[in-house]
């Protein structure tokens, strides 16, 4: 579980850099370098489920792109039915990969960042900048709000069980049990954001003061070195791009 322990700054810089580099380079960089790196990282971190979750999002996304290509008739001299015969030619495939590379990288990078960074440490890392802090507050508490929501949904299920409504078994049965509560649940989730604003004000979170937090967050020398390396890599990529462009 080393990803959790890395300083949030380092993780954010790495994430941004990879997304940026994926835009700059062609699909091979995204699909042959970043994604394998993420795979290995999650393997070592014993969090392969994060990687699989991202895959589950990415694969239908790629299929959807193919479908759209088909519908828009961009597949020269063939139609979308060809996709289902897997008669994609290489140029079309590469085109799709090139168009989707950054989104795909974003999905892998951001899911890793958010799943493996605690909200406190993220907030702590950025607490010097008030505006960033407010934004990260909103984003970060989504995680807790979700588990709060899940807790409430669970309570409802339990309550219905005691009233004799079948809540076990297939997803459909569960959904049917939850169905009458979906409106109230979404309503309360929506109202929550107003609630958060109230909390923010009453707890004094938006006061601009020097904060002395009880949790501390130290950056290791290796992390600083890694950050410099990544920044260097980005600058190098930009420079080489510019020189190619100038020539």
């Amino acid at each position: 579980m080393f990803i959790e322990k890395i300083h949030p700054h380092t993780k954010v810089i790495f994430t941004m850099a990879m997304i940026f580099l994926s835009v700059l380079n062609d699909y091979t960089f995204s699909f042959y370098i970043i994604i394998p790196i993420m795979f290995v990282l999650h393997l070592i971190n014993r969090s392969i489920q994060t990687f699989i979750t991202s895959l589950i999002i990415v694969i239908p996304y790629l299929f959807m792109l193919m479908l759209i290509y088909g519908l828009l008739g961009e597949l020269t001299d063939s139609n979308w039915i060809v996709i289902f015969n897997f008669k994609l030619n290489e140029t079309v495939l590469i085109d799709i990969l090139n168009r989707s590379k950054s989104v795909v990288v974003m999905i892998f990078m951001l899911s890793t960042l958010f799943k493996h960074t605690s909200s406190d440490s993220m907030l702590l890392a950025f607490s010097k900048h008030t505006s960033i802090k407010a934004i990260s507050f909103i984003f970060m508490n989504v995680k807790n709000s979700l588990s709060h929501l899940r807790l409430r949904a669970n309570n409802i299920l339990i309550a219905q069980q005691t009233r004799g409504i079948n809540t076990q078994g297939f997803i459909i049965t569960r959904l049917r049990a939850l169905w009458p509560m979906i409106m109230p649940l979404t309503m309360s989730a929506m109202l929550d954001s107003q609630e958060r604003q109230l909390t923010l004000y009453v707890r004094g979170f938006d006061i601009e003061s020097q904060r002395d937090n009880i949790e501390t967050l130290k950056k290791h020398k290796l992390e600083v070195l890694f950050e410099l390396l990544i920044v260097g890599l980005v600058i190098f990529s930009i420079l080489s791009e510019v020189t190619i462009w100038l020539n």
Partner: protein
């Protein structure tokens, strides 16, 4: 210590037609315990928001009149000063939680960190509050997983840790069992002895009546009546107002200063008989 005041105060939420608060004139003297009572939707929570400055800071709308703390309008204070002086406890204890801290200790510290206390001071204050509210067994737990009653106590803790002069509590007992309610009563009683200005918004008037110095009856956004408990209810009875009255038991505890609390109607009757035979 601190005095809160609303003068000619009216408020209408953005997007709604009617004023929720209408021409409120209210002075909450330093060290005074005020109970705000009224039916559902009377505007009690909105009045609480106005007294804390949540209106107009968070809610937009049309605002008339003035909000004053110690004779100065709210605008003359910084957000930091107001946060330290006026503590606010939400109707729903979930609202009090930052939702970004993972232990109770951090949640309590969060209050102190925000107003800029040094680490030493924060630790000291948190320790004192944990002892006061008897929360030491929960200190490393994540508040999300605690019961509503425990959350209510924690919500109070997040305020008391700043030691504010004014406390506003919006229906704090709705989630509590009788024992925890009694404990809250004791805390508020102690706070009153310390000279805090306390504003309690409550449906359930009986439990706290003996602490109340000033009673405010709110109806459809206007103050129907205000004054001492006895005055307000005597007036109301004499003109036959259709409001919620306290039980005889609770009312008696406010007029007789007794060493032992009156726990039920039987006790009350015994005392009443005693009062009669003295005549």
């Amino acid at each position: 210590m601190a005095q809160l005041e609303l003068s000619n105060f009216s408020f209408r939420y953005q997007g709604s037609q009617d004023y929720v608060l209408k021409d409120i004139n209210l002075t909450l003297k330093s060290g005074q315990f005020t109970l705000i009572n009224g039916l559902d939707g009377a505007g009690k929570t909105t009045l609480g928001y106005a007294l804390k400055g949540i209106i107009p800071h968070v809610f937009e709308g049309t605002l008339l009149g003035e909000q004053r703390l110690n004779h100065k309008v709210f605008q003359e204070y910084t957000h930091q000063e107001l946060t330290k002086i006026i503590g606010y406890c939400f109707q729903n204890p979930w609202t009090q939680l930052s939702m970004i801290k993972s232990t109770l200790e951090e949640e309590l510290s969060f209050s102190c960190e925000n107003v800029g206390y040094a680490l030493e001071e924060t630790r000291f204050r948190v320790k004192a509050i944990v002892r006061l509210l008897d929360l030491s067994h929960l200190i490393h737990k994540n508040p999300i997983h605690l019961s509503l009653g425990q959350l209510q106590t924690i919500a109070l803790g997040t305020i008391l840790v700043l030691d504010p002069d004014v406390l506003i509590l919006d229906e704090p007992t709705s989630q509590l069992d009788p024992l925890t309610r009694r404990r809250l009563f004791n805390h508020l009683s102690d706070l009153k002895k310390q000279g805090k200005t306390i504003i309690l918004i409550e449906h359930n008037i009986d439990d706290f009546l003996e602490l109340v110095d000033h009673l405010v009856l709110l109806e459809k956004g206007s103050i129907l009546d205000q004054g001492s408990v006895i005055d307000v209810y005597t007036r109301s009875l004499s003109i036959g107002r259709d409001i919620q009255y306290p039980s005889l038991t609770a009312l008696l505890s406010t007029i007789t200063s007794l060493d032992k609390p009156i726990l039920n109607d039987n006790d009350a009757l015994t005392i009443l008989k005693g009062v009669k035979s003295h005549d």
